[in-house]
């Protein structure tokens, strides 16, 4: 393959790829992201290839396997272009029909269409689906247009033209100025201004300098970074190249979470392809700028997402944070100046360079610019990845995009910011989602996790969940975090078992404040957020557990009882058969009973009862 050495040759390659695509009358886009693989897309891809070959259509119809489209819940999903027909829950047995009807005769197959979760109507085109319609996608938009394992696809979307622009037309200072003016702030949780960080690192003494991409994505319940790195690795690589040129770095690292094998695979392929075209490696684009990137897999430790711990881990050591009085931009990886940014931060960079700082700054709020990707999950109709301008209200996200409650039960809270964030009640759903507003309310934007909770979620249990998580993940280096969190967990655990007292609640709050002040790193410093925010907004639930020994949501096992509603029970006996603990007795066709002493509260009986006769009190 020829290397690319001028804007002209890049444009030519882009034009050639576009022309190649025009040869086809249709392009079938199949998502092959982690989510859709989990729902079985691999066999669909194989079937489609076979069917097209069998029907002699390979010259006319192109299959493009892409990364995550964000609507994983509907997967495996397929989009047929140019019509933009959207099929969901596709199965291998649907393939012959799709080929003979839709691909050959333009006939829509009703059964495969998406049903709008709110109106119940069938929707034919992807662009009309409310989940997508209410978003404003930039970074995510490219995912469905690109085969992540084919660099030409990225180039056809204007990829690497930002790199060429900075190498031929901009000085490092101008690039940093542009990023500063755009108002881009870190997407990894801290929200630190990206341009400023780059400037610090550029001005730091020491060489070589490093740029690092944080793809550790520790927030449990969020997968934005996974989807970007998996679906559009070149955007991240191009961003890192631009950053490296601006900072004067020679080497780059992508630190990827151990649980993301597909992201590792795709970024490795992307690096190789970029090297082959001379866009990465020595004398990039024929200039004297050289830069390489290495992928490093994490070892499954949440704390390694923290900047100093991540750099220790890169050095092959135990990932313990160190005090940050010396910034990593001065002394980071190998004690040399290192600039760490999150996956999404890097992926935004090429867009800013291409479209200009003012384009980026025109979206968002006064202090939080641009769009942000969120992982919308939990008890909501439409779950998936969304990209919206900063400042969009929680209500719009939860109801317009998310379609509201999945269960019909009232939505009572949304958890944002992961383990360092907090739970916000429904009364605050009109808050604009930006760095300042959420922090003021006791939560944070964080890396973009958004877990919606309805009345079946117990807020005390959620607080306990995060505490347990953080205690588990605390590296143990400093006492306030290690010991404080463990004392807090004991108190909360007692509350969920009906053994909590009012005095202990005070102690809980006090300990939380101490941990927050005295811990070394942000894990400990922010650990009390989930506790304090639930106490602040869901006081009554704590009171119910403490005073009435009752769990209103019916979650805390020690406080609930399963029983069978005699009026609803038809005596079918399904529960008796299903109960693994022999807790159910009774005679067929008559009513059944649950023995409270034997019952382990596993909920299997409720799962199998077709008559809704099992009740929790």
């Amino acid at each position: 393959m020829n290397t690319i050495t001028s804007m002209k040759s890049l444009k030519e390659l882009s034009e050639r790829t576009k022309k190649d695509n025009q040869k086809y009358s249709k392009i079938v886009t199949l998502c092959a992201g982690t989510g859709c693989q989990a729902s079985g897309c691999s066999s669909i891809i194989t079937s489609l290839h076979e069917e097209l070959k069998h029907k002699g259509l390979t010259e006319k119809i192109k299959i493009r396997t892409t990364g995550c489209h964000g609507f994983c819940e509907q997967g495996p999903l397929m989009v047929i272009e140019p019509e933009n027909i959207f099929y969901s829950f596709v199965k291998p047995k649907d393939i012959p029909e799709i080929v003979s009807e839709t691909l050959s005769k333009d006939k829509i197959i009703e059964r495969l269409l998406y049903t709008d979760a709110t109106s119940g109507k069938k929707i034919t085109y992807e662009r009309d689906i409310s989940f997508y319609k209410s978003q404003n996608r930039t970074v995510l938009e490219q995912n469905k247009l690109i085969d992540p394992c084919n660099i030409n696809d990225y180039i056809a979307q204007g990829g690497y033209s930002a790199l060429v622009k900075v190498l031929t037309k901009m000085s490092p200072e101008e690039i940093i100025q542009e990023i500063k003016e755009s108002g881009l702030r870190g997407r990894g949780g801290g929200g630190f201004p990206t341009g400023k960080k780059w400037e610090y690192c550029r001005n730091a003494e020491g060489s070589p300098k490093y740029v690092i991409c944080n793809a550790d994505e520790g927030d449990p319940g969020a997968y934005m970074d996974r989807s970007v790195l998996e679906g559009n690795p070149h955007a991240v690589i191009e961003g890192m190249l631009i950053g490296a040129f601006a900072i004067g770095a020679k080497h780059g690292y992508i630190y990827v979470r151990n649980e993301y094998p597909l992201a590792v695979k795709h970024s490795k392929i992307a690096i190789q392809q970029a090297e082959e075209l001379g866009l990465l490696g020595k004398n990039i684009f024929g200039t004297n700028f050289s830069f390489d990137i290495k992928i490093v897999r994490g070892g499954g430790a949440f704390i390694c997402g923290e900047s100093t711990a991540l750099m220790a881990s890169l050095e092959g050591k135990v990932g313990e944070p160190r005090p940050k009085d010396i910034h990593t931009t001065d002394k980071g990886f190998n004690d040399l100046p290192s600039n760490l940014n999150n996956v999404e931060t890097w992926a935004n960079v090429p867009f800013i360079i291409k479209n200009g700082a003012s384009w980026f700054a025109s979206k968002g709020t006064a202090k939080s610019k641009g769009t942000k990707i969120f992982a919308l999950t939990g008890q909501i109709k439409n779950t998936g990845l969304i990209e919206v301008p900063m400042g969009t209200s929680l209500r719009k996200i939860i109801y317009d995009i998310g379609g509201g409650s999945a269960t019909g039960k009232r939505i009572k809270a949304v958890q944002t910011g992961g383990p360092s964030g907090g739970c916000l009640p429904e009364e605050l759903f009109d808050l604009p989602v930006d760095f300042e507003a959420l922090a003021e309310a006791g939560s944070m934007v964080g890396s973009g996790g958004m877990v919606v909770m309805d009345e079946s979620t117990c807020m005390v249990d959620v607080a306990k969940y995060f505490l347990k998580f953080l205690l588990d993940e605390s590296c143990g280096k400093c006492v306030p975090c290690r010991v404080g969190l463990s004392r807090m967990l004991e108190i909360i655990d007692d509350i969920t078992k009906g053994k909590g007292t009012e005095e202990k609640m005070e102690l809980l709050k006090e300990t939380a404040e101490t941990v927050s002040i005295a811990s070394l790193c942000a894990l400990g410093k922010t650990a009390p957020n989930p506790i304090l925010s639930t106490i602040k907004y869901f006081q009554s639930e704590y009171e119910a557990h403490i005073k009435d020994k009752r769990c209103p949501a019916g979650v805390c096992r020690e406080l609930i009882h399963y029983s069978i509603d005699e009026d609803k029970c038809t005596g079918c006996g399904s529960c008796l058969k299903a109960c693994p603990h022999g807790a159910i007795s009774g005679e067929k066709k008559k009513s059944y009973r649950i023995d409270d002493d034997q019952c382990e509260k596993c909920g299997i009986c409720k799962e199998v009862c077709k008559f809704n006769a099992i009740t929790i009190s």
């Binding site: 989510g35 989990a38 994983c72 958890q415 596993c602």
Partner: protein, 160 residues
């Protein structure tokens, strides 16, 4: 001692001490756990003190120092899976197999591990059994799945 496999690994990773985690990843992939004699070898070859090798092996969740079972069940305990009921069936499957998270059944059939998120949150609760993902899991479904695997290996051992 069988250092051949380790030598192969070191050929791709290199012998720099900063590659320790990457080397351990590969060792774990090859042996399904980190055997002690191999760790001693790693310590020698990378010139990292043995205590540091063990410290790293203990610190990161990706590594196990004990052999794992034939089938590995990974249960996601991430937030999205948690609010959709993952804890209920984790306890249930642990009860069914009579082990704790991270342990292996006596017959060496199953190891149950937990993970903080698999990045498939929209499909939660998610479990992975021998690399295959199962979405929208419930206590009942998981029970049946485990039983199916048990029966399968029973049949296979009878055939032999």
């Amino acid at each position: 001692m069988h250092t051949e496999k380790l030598d192969n690994i070191l050929e791709t990773t290199g012998k720099s001490s900063s590659e320790l985690i990457e080397v351990l990843q590969e060792v774990q992939k090859t042996y399904n756990y980190l055997p002690e004699d191999i760790l001693r070898n790693v310590s020698e070859k990378l010139e990292v003190p043995l205590i540091e090798v063990f410290r790293v092996a203990n610190f990161y969740k990706a590594f196990t120092l004990k052999p794992r079972g034939e089938h590995i069940l990974t249960v996601c305990m991430g937030t999205a899976c948690h609010v959709r009921g993952a804890p209920k069936f984790l306890d249930e499957v642990l009860g069914q197999l009579g082990i704790k998270p991270g342990e292996t059944t006596e017959d060496g059939e199953f190891t149950v591990e937990t993970v903080n998120c698999l990045g498939a949150c929209a499909l939660g609760p998610v479990v992975v059994l021998d690399g295959k993902y199962y979405d929208h899991m419930t206590a009942g479904k998981l029970r049946v799945l485990i039983q199916k695997y048990r029966n399968k290996s029973c049949k296979e051992s009878k055939k032999q």
